[in-house]
């Protein structure tokens, strides 16, 4: 497991495009938004969060693009299978690395920006945590989509996993509103943590079955 995490993180590290791209685009969007519309500070406060939500959704989609594709195409996946006899750990560590090195930084950028724009409702930690958790959920989901449509012709991964992102978005929206109005945040965050655990345990299983089917 440690070996896999090391491998995955060094692969990711050298693919600057994969991790820097999503972060840069997150920054760009959060910068561009106030520029693109002519609004007073008061209004911005109210809506900045939904922009963050939307950017989160897109950057996590972007970040997971080609997550398994490369390993599938160059044959590394088969090699890993021979060593591990299973993809569960491979998938788990890959998602872990991606969430740690892309997902969490993006959430951090989101939180920072919201504060820099004076949208300092609730406290920083709460915002950061809920963004990170929804990134965890989204990464798992989109990783599955990517695994499904490992070959270029297949759209089905996107077609079917994108809609499933809606509940996550709705949840995040609720969490943010609860931060905003200060009610039942703990409840929602524990729901998200629960879902996070559940999905992080189950999704890799499903993804690994999918990958196995693909190399079969």
């Amino acid at each position: 497991m440690f070996r896999l995490i090391k491998i995955e993180s060094s692969k990711l590290f050298y693919k600057l495009k994969s991790w820097l791209g999503p972060m840069l685009i997150m920054i760009l969007v959060l910068t561009a938004f106030p520029l693109s519309i002519d609004i007073s500070q008061f209004d911005l406060e109210k809506f900045y969060f939904s922009i963050i939500v939307v950017s989160l959704l897109m950057t996590s989609f972007l970040a997971t693009e080609g997550m398994f594709e490369e390993d599938y195409e160059d044959g590394s996946l088969e090699q890993e299978y021979l060593v591990e006899k299973d993809f569960y750990k491979v998938v788990l560590s890959k998602i872990f690395v991606y969430v740690c090195f892309i997902g969490v930084p993006i959430a951090f950028i989101g939180a920072i920006f919201s504060f820099a724009n004076g949208v300092a409702i609730g406290n920083f930690i709460n915002v950061f945590i809920s963004l990170s958790l929804s990134n965890l959920l989204l990464f798992n989901l989109f990783a599955f989509g990517n695994a499904l449509s490992i070959n270029k012709g297949a759209m089905l991964g996107i077609l079917t996993t994108l809609p499933l992102a809606l509940p996550v978005i709705i949840l995040l929206g609720t969490a943010i509103r609860s931060i905003q109005y200060g009610n039942s945040f703990l409840e929602i965050i524990s729901l998200m943590i629960g879902m996070g655990f559940l999905i992080s345990a189950i999704m890799p299983l499903i993804i690994s079955t999918t990958l196995k089917t693909h190399i079969d």
């Binding site: 077609l159 079917t160 809609p163 499933l164 709705i170 089917t213 079969d216």
Partner: protein, 243 residues
Amino acid sequence: MISAFIHKFSSPKSFVQITKTLYPLFIFTGLSMLIIGWTWGLLFAPPDAVQGNSYRIIFLHVPAVIFAELIYFFMALCALMHIVWRVKLAAYLIKSAAPIGAMITFIGLFSGSIWGIPTWGTWWQWDARITSTLILFIMYLGILTLHGSFSNLEKSDRLMSILVVIGVVNIPIIKKSVDWWSTLHQPASISVSGGSSIDPSMLYPLIISIIGLGFTLISLGILSSRSYILSREKNKKWVLKHV
């Protein structure tokens, strides 16, 4: 042990034989109950106190959306069977149930939209239940298009099952969305545990049309799955004998 049992009773061959005898019974029950339910509901049930006659679309809308979910649920069960025990028949059933599910979901969406015009004043709202029903519809379409993108049929059977299982999280969302979010859509008006908030004169025809639609859909499913099975197993000896 279990898997041996399952495999014995889930051979495509015995499925085709059993359904052949059951089919006339199902189609007869289904159609006759549908006719009874709909004539009762559309012609004889009293008009609603608030909505007048426009409420009568309930006899189409509610059965349709109920089966939109149930068919998906059925597919998810099949998918589990296929993943765990590699039951071939299960994959065939999913494949042939999907178009029916898509159709009935579309009817549900469509009838709901039409109903929305007089009651909500709009045919579409991005509210949670409506959106999640739309997602269900998209899932059906995704499952339908899946076979197109893989040339290896067994592979795509397995991927399809995985996909179906994942999508099942959508079902409780549809079901519970009216409770979780305050929305335009009606909360549950029929409940098994009693305390239905709907008048018996409307409830009975509704229940009859629900059951009727159920049997009709099952017989449709039998038809489509039989032809699908025959086409997939066309090189097997028993199929040649059968045809």
